[in-house]
């Protein structure tokens, strides 16, 4: 005995003329277009289709909607495999492949079903009490293998080939739910002249009403026509998954399996939200109420009416609610044998269909059948009357739970309805109205809160009753709720987290209320006194790639290209991401490694001349009568004393005194400064400048304009730098004898306006030629051509890092961190003399800032002059680790120009320890190094002026 496809034309949503082939658990099966995977499986008689999470008990399809807790499968294979997906929520398509999750080796003979025999050892919270000794990590791998509900796509199968779309819109009225209440609300809003969008999660409109017979479906069709005529936009297969701040709504639309887009994320800003989400049916609580064949009554009705599937040969209704009677009528009308109605209540006005016995004030106390229901024992509440009934499907109708998830996300509070035993929205919220069943407007008569069999009935059974399940997906039983109460985890928040009820992918849609009612019964509280937990998005599980949309590969984050990019490619540049810019790390030749290339370049530049593109360096025009004053406020050093044409290195600190950027400030005119920042830092510097100007120093007349993209930067450095520029036609006014280091000139070179700054980050004679970005390529190309016999070499970031380390020049963010003050890096000379206030000045006067034992930047040379000190290696006071940290290495490179490794490090009281031998620790290695003063190379800075 099992489920089967009804003959004839039953099944309003399926198309019997279009067969579809699919595969489940290795079996080739067939269904119809319009079927869900669940309806198709039931139609083939598959009752046992899954195993539960913890106890590996046999399970079957339980519901006909997104609230499904049991029928979770792996769909698809290769890169498109989706684990742990509800069969009730998947529209059948040709070639669908599904596997049960959580079984090994097979559905029928799942080895871990042995867990069920040890259920007593696996109650709620067992993992807090077991697997602790000798150490949790010893058990963890085995437990991880046993847990879980399927496999994600194998990384070797490649990227997800599907395309995910997203769309932003603002709409006046959004109606969530296309049942009768939703459609009526949409019509009303459209007639009031509003722009209305209605979204429905199922593939067709109609909601609960669609399964209430032909006449009801005709009513729905009429309503659907009306809303279309009224101009309402309707989107089906689209589920609102979250309500966010200021009426922002996110919905996921699932598209045709064969189309080019798999899913679409709708992001909507809405004036008026109407929640017409309906209600979920509440299960009945009785022993072994989780067996394959136990299903929600409304689901059994829906499968018959919409999919033409009988969920059993002989169906029993277990009810605490009048709606069960309507289901019984539907099933009988469809030709399905209804065995009886077991009503928990003693009386009701609802009428059973002809020939169907009703057992009042009774409950199921035992279910026969392990892998599928075969029969039940029913005993009256007083324990006196007993029935044995043969059935293969138990349709449970314990009441209804308004789907208040979205309402709760919006901050709405719930109230308990005593008569119908449900939590319903308290009131409408600003911008949000709730209608229909979602608002608790259900005409269902009286429903008892607690629908468990009485203890009299259970003891009359004469044997130990089976487990009463409350949360199917997480295998939470009534005994677990009792355990929580006993261990004083009485608050609803503790109840949830201790037992894990409501924490599975169904978020307790069919379990929350029963668990709350139970906890209340066990602790002499009413359900509202126990309370509810807050619902959070997503309303149903969402494909991660739908949220990601196009954010994959190169689209994940902006990676900027320099204007001279193509030239670097031609030179064989090895590109990497430096601060959000794609830049050559080096230009390896003839099979060189990156490091070899960098060493060669760093050596060569100091012999002849190097070409480097510095376009990513931040460039800001600071203009205005108060510009100089303003820069004095911003920088640690003084900029107002710069002569026109002068340039000065500056450090920027935040109000906490911490260094966050550095760069050269040059003065182009009394009221006009050219400010450079680090390549990754221009945005934060501009943000800081603008914040001070707009919010604090509002009377300062200053205009700050970032121009990083408008200007390219070609940096020429090395002993022959001027020789090369001279060849290229640059006037002698730029020669080292005529133009001092740290000065800037505004020039016209061959008709192009350029700003040439004599500056150096590598310690060589250097020129930073700023020019219109579009001219960068032609200049650097020209210099490359002209420089061949001068030995010109392109050099990348790595070589620059080697050279600047040789000079002891710091790299903000590399040698500094979130605690570094100017004094720590030796940049506090002149602060005492600076009269003007500046950002962060007060913080430099704190005792901690003045502490002589602070970390200070020093140079380190390994004693053996061979071993490169690893960056991040720590200095620990003798006798060595474990011990207090004395310092750590921040930059470290082999120096091709000195023939030994050089490193920079932060060291406590570093500047007072010159000459000291310290030990640097890295993993299991201990390396001795000597603290030295920097620069390592050319300490007098003589190379700045180059040579002919």
């Amino acid at each position: 005995m099992s489920a089967y496809r009804l003959p004839g034309l039953t099944g309003a949503w399926i198309n019997r003329s279009q067969k579809l082939n699919f595969n489940f658990d290795g079996r080739a099966l067939q269904g119809y277009s319009g079927d869900t995977l669940a309806s198709a499986l039931l139609a083939t008689g598959s009752m046992h289709v899954a195993r539960s999470f913890k106890l590996h008990r046999p399970r079957g399809i339980f519901s006909c909607g997104i609230e499904e807790p049991n029928g979770l499968f792996e769909i698809g294979d290769d890169a498109r495999r989706t684990p742990n997906t509800r069969a009730t929520d998947i529209n059948l398509y040709e070639g669908l492949i599904a596997l049960p999750g959580n079984v090994w080796p097979s559905l029928k003979f799942d080895i871990l079903s042995i867990n069920n025999y040890f259920a007593g050892l696996l109650p709620a919270g067992f993992y807090y009490k077991t697997f602790m000794w000798p150490a949790w990590r010893l058990f963890e791998p085995a437990i991880r293998r046993a847990a879980g509900l399927g496999h994600a796509a194998d990384p070797h199968s490649g990227h997800d080939p599907d395309r995910y779309d997203e769309l932003s819109m603002h709409v006046h009225t959004l109606v969530v739910g296309g049942g009768v209440a939703g459609m009526q609300a949409a019509l009303e809003a459209a007639h009031a002249g509003h722009d209305v969008l209605l979204v429905e999660g199922q593939s067709q409109l109609g909601g609960w009403t669609a399964a209430q017979g032909e006449a009801a479906r005709t009513q729905i069709a009429t309503l659907a026509e009306q809303i279309e005529k009224a101009g309402v936009r309707v989107v089906t297969a689209c589920t609102v998954m979250g309500l966010y701040d200021h009426q922002y709504v996110a919905a996921v639309q699932v598209l045709d399996e064969n189309g080019k887009i798999r899913e679409r994320l709708w992001k909507m800003r809405v004036e008026q939200i109407v929640l017409a989400c309906g209600a979920f049916e509440r299960p009945m609580l009785f022993p072994d109420n989780d067996r394959p064949g136990v299903m929600l009554a409304s689901a059994v009705q829906r499968y018959a009416e919409l999919y033409g599937v009988a969920c059993g040969r002989r169906v029993l209704l277990a009810a605490a609610c009048d709606s069960a009677y309507g289901v019984a009528h539907s099933l009988q009308a469809a030709g399905i044998d209804v065995a009886a109605i077991i009503d928990h209540r003693d009386e009701t006005a609802a009428q059973a269909p002809t020939g169907v016995p009703v057992y009042r004030s009774s409950a199921i106390v035992s279910v026969k059948g392990g892998q599928q229901v075969t029969g039940v024992t029913v005993i009256s509440h007083d324990g006196l009357h007993r029935q044995e009934i043969l059935v293969d499907c138990i349709a449970v109708a314990g009441g209804w739970t308004p789907a208040v998830n979205l309402y709760s996300m919006a901050g709405g509070s719930l109230q308990w309805d005593e008569r119908s035993s449900m939590f319903a929205p308290n009131k409408d919220l600003p911008g949000i109205t709730v209608v229909g069943a979602c608002a608790g407007k259900l005409d269902i008569g009286w429903v008892p809160a607690d629908n468990r069999p009485t203890s009299l009935a259970l003891s009359a059974l004469g044997q130990t009753p089976g487990k009463i399940f409350v949360d199917l997906q997480n295998d939470v039983a009534a005994s677990d709720v009792a355990l929580a109460a006993q261990e004083n985890f009485r608050s609803v928040e503790h109840l949830k987290r201790y037992t894990t009820m409501g924490m599975a992918t169904d978020q307790g849609k069919t379990s929350n209320v029963n668990a709350i009612v139970l906890m209340g019964a066990l602790t002499q509280r009413t359900p509202p006194q126990v309370g509810t937990t807050k619902f959070r998005p997503p309303f149903k599980p969402v494909t991660i790639n739908t949220i990601a949309g196009g954010r994959s590969g190169e689209r994940i984050k902006p990676l900027k290209r320099m204007p001279g990019h193509d030239w670097h490619t031609e030179r064989g540049g090895l590109f990497e991401d430096f601060g959000g810019w794609l830049r050559p790390a080096a230009y390896p030749i003839q099979g060189e490694s990156l490091e070899q290339a960098a060493q060669r370049e760093a050596f060569q530049v100091r012999q002849t001349v190097g070409l480097f593109e510095g376009s990513p360096l931040g460039k800001i025009e600071v203009f205005g009568p108060d510009a100089a004053d303003f820069l004095d406020l911003m920088y640690v050093g003084t900029m107002s004393t710069l002569p026109v044409g002068g340039a000065r290195y500056g450090i920027l600190i935040n109000e906490n005194g911490v260094v966050f950027d550095d760069g050269i400030v040059a003065r182009l005119a009394p009221d006009h400064f050219w400010v450079n920042t680090t390549s990754g830092g221009v945005e934060r510097v501009v943000l800081a400048f603008e914040e001070w100007l707009q919010c604090e120093y509002v009377n300062h007349r200053v205009l700050v304009t970032p121009v990083t993209s408008a200007w390219g930067n070609v940096t020429v450095s090395g002993p022959k730098a001027w020789a090369l520029l001279e060849r290229a036609g640059f006037y002698a006014t730029l020669a080292p004898g005529a133009m001092k280091h740290m000065t800037i000139r505004d020039i016209d070179h061959a008709g192009t306006r350029m700003r040439v700054l004599r500056a150096s980050f590598n310690g060589e004679l250097g020129y930073e030629i700023n020019l219109p970005a579009q001219e960068t390529s032609s200049l650097i190309d020209r210099l490359w051509d002209l420089g061949h016999d001068l030995g010109v070499v392109p050099y990348g970031i790595e070589a620059l890092m080697v050279m600047r380390t040789e000079k002891g020049f710091l790299h903000v963010g590399g040698d500094t961190d979130g605690t570094t003050l100017p004094g720590d890096i030796g940049m506090d000379r002149g602060i005492a003399k600076k009269v003007a206030n500046f950002v962060g000045r007060r913080s430099l006067l704190r005792p901690a800032s003045l502490d002589a034992s602070r970390m200070q930047l020093v140079g380190l040379i390994p004693v053996d002059r061979k071993t490169r000190l690893p960056v991040g290696a720590h200095v620990v006071a003798p006798p060595g680790p474990p011990g207090a940290i004395d310092g750590f290495v921040t930059s470290s490179y082999p120096s091709p120009n000195l023939g030994h490794p050089v490193a920079l490090a932060m060291l406590q009281s570093g500047r007072a320890r010159t000459g000291e031998i310290i030990t640097v620790h890295h993993l299991d290695r201990a390396i001795d190094a000597q603290v030295v003063v920097t620069p390592f190379f050319d300490p007098q800075g003589e190379r700045l002026n180059g040579r002919d």
């Binding site: 966010y244 701040d245 200021h246 009426q247 922002y248 800003r269 901050g411 109000e655 906490n656 943000l687 603008e690 914040e691 707009q694 919010c695 604090e696 509002v698 206030n837 000045r841 007060r842 913080s843 704190r846 005792p847």
Partner: protein
Amino acid sequence: MMQIQCPWCGPRAANEFYCGGTTAILRPQLDCDDATWGRYLFFRENPKGAHAERWRHTFGCGQWFNVRRNTVSHEVDAVYGITEPAPRSEP
């Protein structure tokens, strides 16, 4: 995602903005004591309810302005100039 009313550009998605935290904080003078300076840097009221804060329309006009937002409901009841005093709240 919140929607912020930029006084110049109109209502925009919150991800076009940068939130600068509590506004109208008086900076202590250079000669204040360490405790005062520390409180200024690190201590904030963190109210449950109306919070006057500053926002910058980073992806738009780049301007700073003040917003009074309820930290529980996110309801914004005032948007005013960066140098203006907070308007009186509704009773």
